[in-house]
Assembly symmetry: C2
Homo-oligomer: 215 residues x 2
DNA sequence: ATAATAATGTGATTTAAATAGCATAAGGAG
DNA sequence: CTCCTTATGCTATTTAAATCACATTATTAT
């Protein structure tokens, strides 16, 4: 069956990403085939959901056999548009920005760090990662345009999140991964994905406290 | 109207946390009252959703006026069970763990860091934050039990995520904030909240690539 | 004092997502 | 070669979430 882009549940896209990370791990352990049931159990969901999620994009499995891990990974990479190299920058090079810059996991998914931006004079010009320089935020606009950067990880302090994200949008950044915990408003053409660590603790807190009073 | 715990949509709990962070910011700017419409616009949702979310827990607003920012914050804190002090630990004190330990934002939400665990001999015994020591993972069990720690932020390497989370569950940790990107399996009594930065970039990648082929 | 306005809170309805059920295909056992 | 098992993929149904529509109330303007 053929689906439109707009028929596809947003949550399916999230799950594809989860499946992908699980498949990476399976591949490292030389697993060649996996059933929707097994994959579901690893992804904390159920087999029907797994099959349905894939069915929006095509038929990737074989009856009686399940899914070929390698082929499924490649298919998901195509769907998520991460089969080709992508470039990203980090904006705000403090504690969190630094941690992210040293994390090797982005490369496996074809995301390559191309630049770092901050305002602290003492770090500008440094090259903390080979081939990646820290630049002043004033150089952002030209750099993004010249290098056609699509993605930015925003890890500045909260109080400048809004102004900095406006600069990002203006420079032509297509997607902002917002780590600041502050909601930002940008033109519709720029997408934002929010990650908020504190929110996670609050969610846990609620469900732990409510676990007693079931039903 | 009175709702049961199980009648309340999970997504509502997530949004409460989002509202709370926005309210904190409004309070800092001396805003006293806010309408569901205004709050919705700041939270990227709509006014009815905002009101419905609150209505599961009680009536917090005044007609024609809207919500008192302070009162609403206190109410949300009660709902999320963050009005009293909570203790958490960080397990895996590498780049990310360190960044998190220095982040002051948890205190505002009544989450206090009580201990740090790792296996690197050269950092064990250090006190990177006043009053918070780095301990060996072998001391985890006793420490968690003695200090009745409820929450743990897991930031070890992926390959030990499973074994370490089993230790956490065994020690009696109630909620794990899993930063590793690897899915972990723990007994049902232990809750897990996953945060995966790479997933965020993939989500952005998908929606940016699909934006052209609308409908 | 009355009308107009701006807001909340909640049943009713619509839409989206999850789940169930089943037809079908691939492989293995006998 | 036929039957049994296992697993996919799709349609139908159920459940959950979002939205609509409106009754209600507090405040302001006339
Ligand atoms: N840094 C990032 O931006 C980033 C992004 C996405 C995901 N992650 C994930 O977060 C986790 C931590 O990342 P990081 O960059 O801080 O890695 P890191 O290697 O800098 O830190 C890991 C720490 O865990 C410690 N450790 C190892 N085994 C342990 C054990 N058995 N018990 C306790 N501690 C142990 C190590 O000694 C080290 O200090 C990883 O799983 C990574 O995949 C990190
Ligand atoms: N560290 C965490 O664990 C954590 C957790 C949750 C949320 N956050 C959020 O992530 C963000 C970063 O946290 P952090 O701990 O790295 O903070 P940080 O203060 O260590 O780093 C912020 C960096 O941004 C730079 N900066 C300031 N203004 C700038 C501008 N206009 N343009 C570019 N860079 C600018 C600063 O010079 C600094 O290097 C914050 O918004 C924080 O709320 C962090």
């Amino acid at each position: 069956m053929k689906y439109n882009y707009s028929d596809i549940p947003e949550i399916t896209v999230r799950r594809l990403s989860v499946y992908f990370h699980i498949l990476k791990c399976l591949k490292d352990n030389n697993v060649e085939f996996i059933s929707s049931k097994q994959l579901a159990s690893l992804a904390h969901t159920n087999a029907v959901s797994v099959r349905k999620d894939f069915s929006y994009f095509g038929e990737f499995g074989k009856k009686h056999i399940g899914y070929n891990v390698n082929y499924l990974m490649k298919s998901i990479m195509k769907i998520l548009n991460i089969s080709k190299k992508n470039s990203y920058i980090i904006v705000g090079y403090g504690n969190l920005g630094t941690a992210i810059s040293f994390f090797p996991g982005f490369k496996d998914e074809n995301f390559f760090l191309k630049g770092i931006f901050d305002i602290k004079e003492e770090i500008i010009g440094k090259e903390p990662i080979e081939g990646v320089k820290v630049m002043h935020i004033d150089e952002l606009n030209d750099f993004v345009k010249e290098n056609r950067i699509k993605f930015a990880i925003l890890s500045t302090p909260m109080n400048v999140a809004q102004v900095v994200s406006e600069k990002l949008a203006k420079a032509g950044i297509k997607g902002i991964l917002n780590m600041t915990g502050r909601h930002i408003r940008v033109p519709e053409k720029t997408l934002v994905f929010d990650i908020n660590i504190v929110t996670g603790l609050e969610w846990l807190s609620y469900f732990i406290s409510k676990k007693g009073d079931k039903k």
